[in-house]
């Protein structure tokens, strides 16, 4: 997924940018759609990101990958947008309906001990295996319930603290922590099924 360019090959980089942007656009859109309710806003955020990247490509640090750079630009655009829009548009409906949706207590017995020891995962041994793991995780992320995914990426991608998230979307701190836990449990289960073929 990554591409390495040097500053000295700027002309070459510009030529390849359009192709690279197409490659990375779906993941950028996934991240934006999880944060911005209106599809058009998400499209705009991604478009703004790509435009900013195009206009400031000279600032691209060759020590990172283009993907890292784009994801970083989008991160700041989303944080700015969220900090301004959530203040004016309280989303009271956010996540409340999901609190009852997923219950992981079925994984534990009456003493809250695991019902079964899950199959250990093996670390990726090759670049291809690492790439496949990330592709699987990306697919698992898309399966999170919409509101859970939004809260989870506010934490894991945008870097908001749980208390900040609670404040921004008008939830109790505890609800945010429950949603973060549920997202992590869901992703672990999803990855486990993909990696081992059995429910973790």
């Amino acid at each position: 997924v990554s591409s390495n360019y040097t500053q000295s090959s700027l002309g070459e980089l510009r030529q390849g940018l359009e192709r690279e942007f197409k490659l990375h656009r779906p993941f950028l859109l996934l991240l934006a759609q999880r944060q911005l309710r209106e599809p058009r806003d998400a499209e705009d955020a991604v478009q703004d990101t790509l435009l900013a990247a195009w206009q400031t490509i000279e600032a691209f640090d060759s020590r990172s990958t283009l993907r890292t750079w784009l994801v970083g630009i989008l991160r700041f655009k989303l944080i700015d947008t969220l900090r301004s829009s959530y203040r004016h548009h309280a989303r009271m409906e956010c996540v409340m309906d999901e609190l009852q949706q997923q219950d992981f207590s079925s994984l534990f017995d009456e003493h809250e001990q695991w019902l079964a020891t899950s199959t250990p995962w093996t670390s990726p041994q090759t670049a291809l295996e690492s790439k496949q793991l990330l592709a699987t995780l990306e697919a698992c992320l898309t399966r999170l319930p919409e509101q859970t995914g939004r809260v989870f990426l506010m934490r894991e991608y945008l870097g908001f603290k749980a208390t900040e998230i609670a404040s921004l979307i008008h939830l109790e701190d505890g609800h945010v922590r429950v949603l973060l836990l549920r997202a992590r449990m869901s992703l672990r289960l999803c990855l486990g099924i993909q990696l081992t073929g059995v429910q973790a």
Partner: protein, 69 residues
């Protein structure tokens, strides 16, 4: 001179998963960290689950292009 080991209150596997999540968010108290470490050291299923969460967190950091939160 000997010192008695401080008592560490037992926690369940389900509570352990909660603490793993809180630890990821740097939202965990020192006493909870001790409980978490103690439980995982003595519980095979939680050792496996903890390693799986570690794999997940590393993959997330890579996918989302950021340092651990």
């Amino acid at each position: 001179m000997t010192f008695a080991r401080p008592h560490i209150a037992a926690i369940s596997c389900q509570q352990t998963t909660v603490l793993v999540s809180l630890q990821r968010d740097h939202d965990i108290q020192p006493e909870q960290t001790r409980q978490l470490t103690h439980h995982i050291a003595h519980c095979k299923p939680c050792q496996v689950a903890s390693e799986q969460f570690s794999h997940l967190f590393v993959a997330l950091d890579t996918l989302l292009e950021r340092a651990p939160p």
